[in-house]
């Protein structure tokens, strides 16, 4: 097995969508081989399908602008053309279609929309009350059966705030109380009536796992784990169960395909998610601060033959940046959070650039309804802190931390995360260089539709919760 290869989940995600036709339980007593196959129990991988619709868009050309393309390229005095929800052209001179809206971008910057790999918007929404705290299923350390999308409250005003910060896609994760916290969901940051309306079409699922202090604190007096060693025993036990479950289903499929009279194994939602990981369909997002624990988890990953997409927080990523690179595991990090607990005590400002410099995939994440509004500034801090110690990364390369790297770690890079012809027109026009504190997202396009226009307050989206309340539609 070669962990340096491109992760398998992108292929896997495509396979899953092809399999979407399903038949439930059938009786095979009198059936011949063919009908047995059609009666095969196939589990619907997408029972809560996306109903996302892009908002209407106009063909738009932004001119005279500086572009960071999100994959390391920068061009000045450039143009970008958005049409039919896609990026249709990029460069100094573009052939214009008819009826194009032209925006003069002189002095301004264009980037791909920011993608946050770590958000709890909707599952820990504002207002922060017990009745709304739906992010941690703290009843058992292994709850891979729960899905964050069933907790997302689309009226969380935090989505609109994040939009004003240039965030166009985000992953909503369960919390980190559990060894296996449940499935994550990737959303377009265009809040609507339901979570399905926001679901990023064809994005693979993720699973939240957690190392360290949180599970042992939560379960220490509730039957365990109460130690880090029991955390690891807990992951391994679950993977052993999942491997058995996977083998049963594979046996069943082989039997059915061979024309045998086979009975489908009993469904188990917990193992179904874990099997999805072992099949390469579901991406592991693992909350882990300490260097030593991350390396243990990469060994568990090899033991059970799955791939970790990204360590989250990875406050000590700089201590093992070489091993992250070797194992092709991304690290989603803050610029400078530290010290709020012991496993965050060794946080340093240069973590992100040091991980990047080792050739690993660095991602800037928020884990915060405030931080998500200024992820460009988090990247700017990390970029400048790296430069001050001689890690000379260009701004264009640093922008990968906000768009292409998170897109890759979420399995949506084929659709978004960079400015390339044919990709989704998820685009931000910044008032100035987005590495400045004073720059603001002026226009935010999602699939080509103008989702946010700073200069037109009447058009700003307002959640149901804020309607009729103090500050409705205020400058937020």
């Amino acid at each position: 097995m070669n962990y340096n290869n491109k992760p398998t989940w992108i292929l896997a995600a495509i396979t899953t969508t092809i399999l979407s036709a399903t038949t439930l339980v059938g009786c095979s007593d009198h059936a011949d081989n063919q009908t047995q196959i059609t009666n095969k129990v196939v589990i619907n991988p997408d029972p809560f399908p996306s109903t996302y619709e892009p908002i209407p868009s106009k063909t738009t050309l932004i001119t005279n602008v500086t572009i960071f393309d999100g994959i390391g390229g920068m061009s000045t005095d450039s143009q970008i053309l958005l049409a039919d929800g896609k990026i249709l052209g990029l460069g100094k001179q573009i052939n214009l279609p008819e009826n194009v809206t032209i925006i003069d971008g002189a002095g301004k910057f264009v980037t791909p929309g920011i993608i946050d790999t770590h958000s709890h918007l909707g599952v820990y929404p504002s207002p922060d009350t017990r009745s709304h705290a739906d992010g941690n299923e703290m009843t058992s350390p292994v709850t891979a059966q729960v899905w964050a999308e069933h907790s997302v409250w689309p009226q969380d005003p935090g989505f609109q705030r994040a939009l004003a910060g240039g965030v166009t896609s985000l992953q909503i994760l369960p919390g980190s109380a559990n060894l296996f916290g449940g499935r994550s969901v990737v959303l377009k940051n265009l809040p609507d009536r339901t979570v399905q309306d926001m679901k990023f079409p064809e994005a693979p699922y993720g699973i939240k796992m957690a190392c360290g202090e949180n599970p042992k604190r939560v379960y220490g007096r509730k039957g365990g784990p109460s130690t880090r060693m029991a955390n690891v025993a807990g992951y391994r036990k679950a993977w052993i169960g999942a491997a058995e479950y996977k083998a049963k289903w594979e046996q069943y499929e082989a039997d059915v395909n061979a024309g045998k009279d086979a009975k489908a194994p009993k469904r188990d939602l917990n193992n179904e998610t874990l099997k999805g990981v072992l099949d390469g369909d579901i991406i592991v997002h693992m909350h882990c601060y300490r260097a030593d624990e991350m390396v243990v988890m990469m060994d568990v990953m090899k033991e059970f033959n799955y791939q970790i997409g990204s360590f989250h927080h990875a406050v000590e990523g700089y201590k093992i940046a070489d091993k992250l690179a070797e194992n092709n595991v991304c690290a989603s990090m803050w610029a400078d959070w530290w010290g709020f607990k012991l496993e965050a005590y060794d946080g340093i400002r240069e973590n992100i650039p040091m991980v990047h410099a080792a050739g690993a995939c660095a991602v800037v994440h928020s884990d915060s309804d405030i931080g998500i509004q200024r992820l460009n500034q988090e990247a700017a801090k990390a970029w400048s802190d790296g430069r001050r110690i001689g890690i000379d990364i260009s701004k264009a390369d640093a922008w990968q931390w906000l768009t292409s790297n998170p897109a890759k770690s979420l399995g949506i890079f084929d659709q978004t995360g960079s400015l390339e012809v044919g990709k989704n027109a998820d685009v931000v026009l910044w008032s100035a260089d987005p590495f400045s504190t004073y720059a603001q997202a002026e226009k935010v396009f999602i699939d080509g539709g103008l989702a946010y226009d700073r200069n037109a307050p009447d058009t700003w989206p307002v959640s149901d919760f804020e309607l009729g309340q103090i500050g409705e539609g205020d400058h937020k």
Partner: protein
Amino acid sequence: MKRLTTFLTLFTLSTSVLANQFAIVGGKVHTLTGQGTLAEATVLIKDGVIESIIAGSEAPRGYERIEAQGKVVTPGFIGAYTALGLVEVGFSAGQVDASTSEHPVTTIGAAIDVSYGINADSTLIPITRMEGFTSAATGIESSEYLFKGQGAFIQLSDDEPLLKPRAFMALSVNNSSADEAGGTRGTLWVALKQILSEAKFAADFRTSNSLIPTQHWHGVSTRTDAQALHDVIRGNTPLLIKADRKADILNIIGLKSEFPKLNIVIVSASDAWRVADKLAAAQIPVILNPEYNLPGAFDTLGATLANAGRLEQAGVKVAIGIETHNIRLAAQHAGNAVANGMSYEVALAALTRSVAEIYGLQDTLGALAPGMRADVVVWSGDPLEVTEAAEHVFIGGQPTKMESRQTLLRDRYLNLEQTKPMGYVRP
């Protein structure tokens, strides 16, 4: 050659330890005084204080020169509302002196005095000061008492940190405090007024006759609480009140008319912009985090990024900086206040002069003027830009080492290819 460099470094270090005359030469100097901002000026430091600020790039002989051409010079930033020195790691990591549990010495929390809990060896101190913060107000972060006790004012140098014990009294009247104080603001405010009346009674009798243990005392507060409130009730010690909702802020303004001597400061203050004129008229300043813009509870529905700028417009004094481990990010917070409507000079004052004024320390701290304490920072550029950094930090006229546990960790791991385990790598 290496030996020579080492020798020179040692020599420089030892002279700088001994030196007491420094010239910060040719920087863009924000004085935060009537002198304004000088495009190119030299700050002279002597015997721990600022000797003078002179236009241009000339320094007299006998001063150790710090070249600051093309750089920005400001007064040291002041952490407006922190728990620095009282907490190392807040969560599940042992003793924290920034939170309290019940004790019979106090019924309301006013008696608590954090000055005994300040740890000069906290790693937070060098981590914070090397980012341009030279002093801070520090107090209790978490308490179930109505009052959060008496906070202290500290310097962030290697010397004894305590500059002023019992520098302020903290109190909270927001949603969560109402929940703890009897479950309703209806109880909280009656209790608060009763407590202040008791303190006033005790203060008016001056003597603390009523407070000696052999006398009867039937207050809601303990004798020690009433004593701790002496200087608050007389207006000598600022009373910091955490509040967000407009109605709570109006209650506070009402409190000030009932107890006119109170020197009230509002902390957090999400809705403050809605009563900005009244706050200005009552001369009540505000300490806030300008990035807070979410309806986190039903008393912060008005939260907006425009708060700081709107308060400035109305003439309310604003200080910026509510944090502990990352109080160093208050400069970024101030930058974002500017991006959302605050003027640049006032945002800079919100990290320096305005904080000093709130704590009554404006004669020594928060600005660059002859005779003031030489807390001075040289920045690579605009300190409110996230990409700029402090390059030299003077506290009390002495340069501080630009090193922290974080920079040592960084330097240890900069090169991962080592022949021996990392424990042998001593940066």
